[in-house]
Amino acid sequence: MPQNRSRKSPVEESRTLSVVRQLWRHGDRFFQGLVVLAALAVPALVVAIGYVLWNGSALSRRAFGWAFLYTARWDPAIDRIFGALPFIEGTLVTSLLALLVAVPISIGVGIFLAELAPPWLRRPAGFLMELLAAVPSVIYGLWGLFVFIPAVVRPLGEWLSAHLGFLPIFAGPVFGPSRLAAALVLAIMVSPTIAAFSRDVFQAIPQSQREAALALGATRWEMISQVLVPYGLSGLLGAVILGLGRALGETMAVTMVIGNNLDLSASLLHPGYTMASVIANEFTEATYDLYLQALVEVGLVLFATTLLLHIFARLLIWGVARRIPQESRV
């Protein structure tokens, strides 16, 4: 045997050597194949998510068609009728109200970080905003439920219903967990996103624009509001839309503070429901196929909405980036 092996070995050695040599020679092709595969994986994943959601909601789509989007009845227990309107409405109301609160503040922060803050303050202040964005959603929920609602939302709701209660949106009774609570927590959560993107937009505007405005005698605010804001408008809009995208899909914090109530009510002080929170609450309880598929369809609506918003926002931000020549950036 040993003789046999030793006799065979030169051949085998040259064979393994040639395999190694082949691999060595074709290593680059192999490597490039891997790289292309990895690059393909990312867009493929997006397509796969869309496909799986589409496929997984077939029963529900066939049963309810477009009416799914405007039926206000979600009745898994008795009639097995599913309409997502309460969730769509809840998501839109809370997200838009959140933007209403967050946009003036976070654009102000963006301006402060890019234009006003002394250089030594910019990095630490920007870092604090990053930390705010890094706090996990579930901790916002915990804090919102036990601290923010009793300390801020409830007194605010009582004041609103006492003084503006004649408006249907502020009609009482006052609940702690409510759409107002969800909107305010969302506002806190999306403001770092909007602030960071709008800071980047302002920083990308050429210095010459500022100098020209100041040379014409503009005050700093006039320079910002009449020159920088119009210049970066589409980028700022993109930042706001990305913030909206984050608000729409936010799950844990909203689920914990919105009260999860299906009644359609105009009042912001009333508990509500959102698309993300109904998935979180009911997905593991869906006991039959149609129920589960209806929830998947809610996910599909959420996915399609964020996808469209994202495309829109990216086009806007890319538009700004393309218009500003690389060399003249600050």
Partner: protein, 291 residues
């Protein structure tokens, strides 16, 4: 325009200017308040409940004193670890493509896909993985949790790695090619080490984000009150534990929610600070090399 009019006009303009600049400064303060408030409260409420045994003990039933989050710590480590192992090679290689061929159709598709993926709500990712893994297997598993986290980490890893790879001077790559090294050796032995520290920064941020995700865990990893290290069994995670304890009606569990939140927030923020220090250190070192 007479002089008086122009003076009042200029006063008005200065007033508006001062007011709006003050608004921007105030906005910064207003935006920071929630951070300090959350941190302060989590610290105050969580610290009294923290003890050594909180880290090493398993959860106890309601009313039984003691108990900890050992299972959730292990579970978070396992799911995040699985996610990291799955996402890192794909993310780094994809970033290599994006940095090398930004304008090819696939490069554009990749960048766009990365952007979209980072905007997909994590709960939707949860549904996706539920259909992909949990449904065929007919049970929740740590593996499913890890796969969701991999998808959540992927865009962060691609984006930060791409940025770092772009910063590697092309001369390094050319020198390596001139020595006869094939592309894959250049990548492994020259490009990756040169960008290594920056790549690590991105990985830390991705881990920090994934470690705080509770929503997709609801129907992938599902949670488990017992210690489990098996990939094909349900597993507890830190954020999911916080959620369960928070919505429970028991004061004892709610106190534990705060303590768990303190552990999680400490973990996430220190990862963020670490990545910041790393990137600062990197910039510092590179600066001293080039100057």
């Amino acid at each position: 325009m007479d002089r008086r009019h122009s003076r009042s006009r200029s006063l008005w303009r200065k007033g508006v200017n001062a007011l709006m600049l003050i608004w921007c400064g105030l906005a910064m303060v207003v935006a920071i308040i929630p951070l300090l408030w959350i941190l302060g409260h989590v610290f105050l409420m969580g610290l009294p409940a923290l003890s050594w045994s909180f880290f090493t003990a398993l959860p106890t039933p309601v009313g039984v004193p003691g108990g900890g989050i050992a299972n959730a710590l292990v579970g978070s480590a396992i799911t995040v670890g699985v996610g990291l192992v799955l996402a890192t090679p794909v993310g780094v290689l994809a970033a290599y493509y994006a940095a090398a061929h930004p304008n090819r159709p696939l490069g554009l598709a990749l960048r766009f896909g990365t952007d979209v993926l980072s905007g997909v709500p994590s709960i939707v990712m949860g549904i996706f993985v539920y259909t992909l893994i949990v449904l065929p297997q007919r049970h929740f598993s740590a593996l499913a949790g890890g796969v969701v986290l991999a998808f959540i980490m992927l865009p962060t890893i691609v984006r930060s790695t791409e940025e770092m790879l772009r910063l590697v001077p092309p001369t390094l790559r050319e020198a390596s090619a001139a020595l006869g090294a094939p592309e894959w050796r250049t990548f492994l032995a020259v490009v990756l080490p040169a960008a290594g520290n920056g790549v690590l920064t991105g990985l830390l941020l991705a881990v920090a984000r994934a470690a705080g995700e509770a929503a997709p865990m609801l129907f992938t990893a599902f949670g488990n009150p017992f210690m489990s290290t098996a990939l094909d069994r349900p597993i507890a995670t830190l954020p999911h534990t916080i959620f369960v304890y928070t919505i429970s009606p028991y004061a004892d569990w709610q106190a534990k929610a705060w303590a768990t939140a303190l552990v999680l927030i400490g973990l996430v923020l220190s990862l963020n600070v670490a990545s910041r220090i790393l990137s600062w250190w990197r910039a510092h070192r590179l600066g001293s090399v080039t100057s």
